[in-house]
């Protein structure tokens, strides 16, 4: 029962870039799960889109030997987060479960955090979110709808974590490894996205992050993210020799 108690987990994600096929299912799943406003053409043109997770695409090599490379990027939930100390109202802080948390009702919309974030995963609501009438009843009741003027970002689907820990405590059991899945990781068809508890040495993510391909994004900034990436394996190159894998 002890491990279902609050604060006994260190939630994190391991992203196996080698498995990512760039299908964007995670993006859509996140959009639907977290009541993210629709990125209409108008918003795209103004570069005001909101997507808590995005799949970045890079081209490697020159035509005709060009290869597409995909990397899903969401809030890295940094242990040493640049967004946290700049918030004047403590709307974003690090909680005892290893997550960087955004408290919508505290946020006053200074946007300092978004300017501080090197991963560009924080999004500001420039407008009141609106959905077409046909989508009104699709909103997730477990997730607050963010109004105009506040910042939002990936929450590691904290409502799902809360739900699982509640049912575990109700049943008097522990949260089983893999019981908590974020919207993106449950939608991923190739299991490139894996969510779990780093405090448990036997969990799937704890074992995966011991892989020699592991690296963290922009680690020169020393943000110590809770999202670990596993580098792409390229048949032409040695493992871990890519620019992104220079860490290991």
């Amino acid at each position: 029962m002890a491990t279902a108690e609050f604060g006994s987990h260190n939630w994190g994600m391991v992203v196996d870039v080698d498995k990512c096929i760039g299908c964007n299912a995670c993006v859509i799943a996140c959009q639907a799960e977290n009541n993210i406003p629709l990125n209409s053409q108008d918003r795209v043109e103004r570069a005001r889109t909101i997507s808590w997770i995005r799949v970045e695409r890079y081209w490697e090599g020159d035509f005709p030997d060009a290869k597409a490379r995909f990397i899903p990027i969401m809030c890295q939930h940094c242990e040493n987060a640049p967004c946290e100390p700049v918030c004047p109202v403590y709307a974003t802080y690090h909680n005892s479960e290893g997550m960087n948390v955004q408290v919508y009702n505290r946020c006053v919309g200074t946007r300092y955090c978004a300017n501080g974030c090197p991963y560009i995963v924080r999004f500001f609501n420039y407008w009141e979110p609106v959905w077409p009438e046909s989508l009104r009843n699709h909103l997730n009741p477990d997730v607050t709808v963010r109004s105009r003027g506040i910042m939002e970002k990936c929450s590691f689907c904290v409502h799902r974590i809360r739900r699982e820990s509640r049912s575990a405590r109700s049943a008097g059991t522990e949260i089983a490894d893999g019981a908590v899945q974020t919207a993106c990781s449950s939608a991923c068809p190739t299991s490139a996205l894996n969510f779990g508890n780093f405090n448990d040495p036997d969990s799937k993510v704890s074992k995966m992050k011991e892989d020699k391909r592991h690296y963290t994004l922009l680690d020169q900034f020393g943000t110590d993210p809770n999202v670990i990436y596993l580098a792409k394996i390229d048949a032409d190159k040695k493992v871990g020799s890519g620019a992104a894998a220079s860490h290991d």
Binding site: F6, G7, N95, E97, N105, T144, S155, V158, R162
Partner: protein, 217 residues
């Protein structure tokens, strides 16, 4: 508003400012004084007496046939069925009320006629929902789930606050902690402030998480 205030002079200004100050101070501490639509009781479409259904005591309520009666002492979960398992306590559908009230209660009782009409027992306009007014409402940025609170208080009866005229054991006995003595209310009103300070105090006293995302996500 300003013109008559100026016309009656400084005393009127002081009086208006006093009302405003009283509103702000009471609103900060608990419930604001009931002006400007800030009443904590609502006129329901049917004068549903919780006393008759939930209380175990002799009632002032006299039904149409003129005999004084005792409350039925129904468990809260008899009607609010999902409170022990889900986030919402749940308001029973009209058909659920009608399972009893198609036979119980005098014919021609005007309040029961509204219910029977809604349940399509009388009248010919088909079934329709009853538009109950919600009394206890938390802001949209709070995710409150009944289930863990009922579970904890049922396991720790010493933490239950307020007394109830209704059933005092099990889930029913714990509801009074936040909802007050509903079994004694002819018309339900919110008696506890149900503000974040009250939530956090109780969470702190009982070792529940006080992390922001416990409720705000």
């Amino acid at each position: 508003m300003l013109v008559p205030v100026l016309a009656i002079g400084g005393l009127g200004v002081v009086a208006v400012m006093g009302v405003v100050a009283a509103f702000v101070i009471t609103g900060w501490i608990g419930q604001p004084i009931p002006v400007l639509g800030f009443e904590q009781t609502f006129d329901q479409p049917i004068d549903f007496p919780h006393t008759v259904h939930a209380s175990l005591k002799q009632l002032d309520h006299v039904p149409a046939d003129g005999q004084a009666m005792e409350g039925l002492g129904l468990d809260c979960t008899f009607c609010h069925r999902t409170v022990t398992t889900q986030a919402n306590a749940g308001v029973p559908p009209v058909g659920f009320c009608a399972t009893c009230h198609q036979v119980i209660g005098a014919d021609g009782n005007p309040q029961l006629d509204i219910l029977r009409d809604a349940a399509d027992i009388i009248g010919d306009d088909g079934p329709e929902p009853v538009n109950w007014q919600r009394v206890h409402r938390l802001p949209d940025h709070v995710r409150f789930v009944h289930e863990p609170h009922i579970r904890y208080l049922t396991a720790n009866p010493s933490e239950v606050k307020n007394t109830t005229d209704g059933v005092a054991t099990g889930p029913s006995g714990v509801c009074s902690t936040c909802h007050g003595n509903v079994a004694a209310m002819e018309q339900v009103e919110q008696v506890e402030p149900l503000k974040m300070g009250q939530c956090v105090d109780c969470h702190r006293d009982n070792g529940a998480p006080t992390d922001c995302v416990a409720c705000h996500h």
